[in-house]
């Protein structure tokens, strides 16, 4: 299974994911991004914060190729797997 790195972008700032995780493919990458973003948004809401739609995951493979950009706004607006 390939390893994917979920870097997290907040405006100009990029927090690097040095660890990455093994996932079977792009569909699983998208599902993980969706579920994780839903989780973060829900936690933020419970903490009294506005929805963090300006953030995104930038997911790269081991060769550092950009595989997917996943804006948190998608998780706020679209259905997906239960986190």
């Amino acid at each position: 299974m390939p390893r994917y790195f979920f870097h997290y972008r907040d405006g100009d700032r990029l927090s690097e994911d040095y660890e990455g995780e093994l996932l079977p493919g792009i569909a699983a990458v998208e599902e993980t991004a969706m579920a994780s973003a839903k989780e973060i948004i829900a936690d933020g809401l419970l903490g009294g914060n506005p929805v963090l739609t300006g953030y995104s995951y930038e997911i790269r493979d081991e060769a550092r190729n950009l595989v997917l950009v996943f804006p948190f706004s998608e998780a706020a607006e679209k259905p997906g797997p239960r986190p």
Partner: protein, 238 residues
């Protein structure tokens, strides 16, 4: 009442055993390495060894059949695995595995059981640790329902640091995800929030605690109250 007299051990429980109880268990203690991910207890299986940790971190992990692992207990040199045994059960309800490599003194369960039967003081002492662990777990239930991700992260980092020392933690995001009960990518987000507040610095695979007091404040009572209970029940660490 429980003075750390047995100074050749790092484990806070063994350090505090009475001379008689130490004499009872010492012949059966075997020093062993605890490599990362070593399984110390299997879910719903008989316990084979009890580990008194000297260093490193063991994590008690509960699992929903369809879901992800979630940590419900953290054990370092202040504690032991096998609390079910001290309570008279022979099997573990949860998995317990090594999340940060270290060492331990381990003891086969039959020997511990016979030591517990021979001594009138050993079980009461170990039951004090069971109480401390019960309080830790109760607080975990509390923060899981009531605290924000970053507050829970602050608590876990402090708890890990207590067991490792040096304000420098080499823990994986995978482990932090289990502690927090979230998907792994979310850990990066939570770490970034703490970094933004100047409380930690997250480097490749390493987390540096920059402001312990700030982290304690952020954890908002979820850290330090259970730790105070440990001191009350067992004693000062270190």
């Amino acid at each position: 009442m429980y003075k750390p007299n047995n100074k050749k051990y790092k484990n806070e429980l063994i350090r505090r055993l009475s001379q008689e109880d130490l004499a009872l268990v010492e012949p059966d203690l075997v020093r062993c390495e605890l490599p990362l991910r070593m399984m110390l207890e299997k879910r719903n299986s008989p316990i084979e060894f009890v580990y008194f940790l000297e260093g490193g971190i063991g994590s008690i992990v509960a699992k929903m059949p369809m879901g992800r692992d979630t940590e419900v207990g953290l054990i370092g040199f202040e504690g032991m695995t096998g609390t079910a045994l001290v309570l008279g059960d022979d099997q573990s309800t949860h998995e317990c595995y090594v999340q940060l490599a270290g060492e331990a003194h381990r003891m086969p369960v039959d020997q511990l059981r016979s030591a517990l039967a021979q001594s009138t003081t050993l079980r009461p002492f170990l039951l004090r640790y069971v109480q401390a662990l019960f309080i830790q777990t109760s607080y975990t239930a509390l923060v899981n329902a009531r605290s924000k991700l970053e507050e829970r992260l602050a608590r876990w980092l402090l708890m890990c640091d207590d067991r490792v020392g040096g304000d420098r933690l080499t823990i994986t995001h995978e482990f932090l995800a289990i502690m927090l009960g979230v998907r792994r990518p979310g850990v990066t987000v939570a770490l970034q929030i703490l970094e933004g507040k100047g409380l930690i610095r997250a480097n490749r695979g390493e987390i540096i605690l920059r402001d312990r007091n700030g982290l304690i404040e952020l954890a908002d009572g979820a850290y330090s109250e259970p730790e105070g209970e440990y001191r009350r029940l067992i004693g000062e660490i270190g």
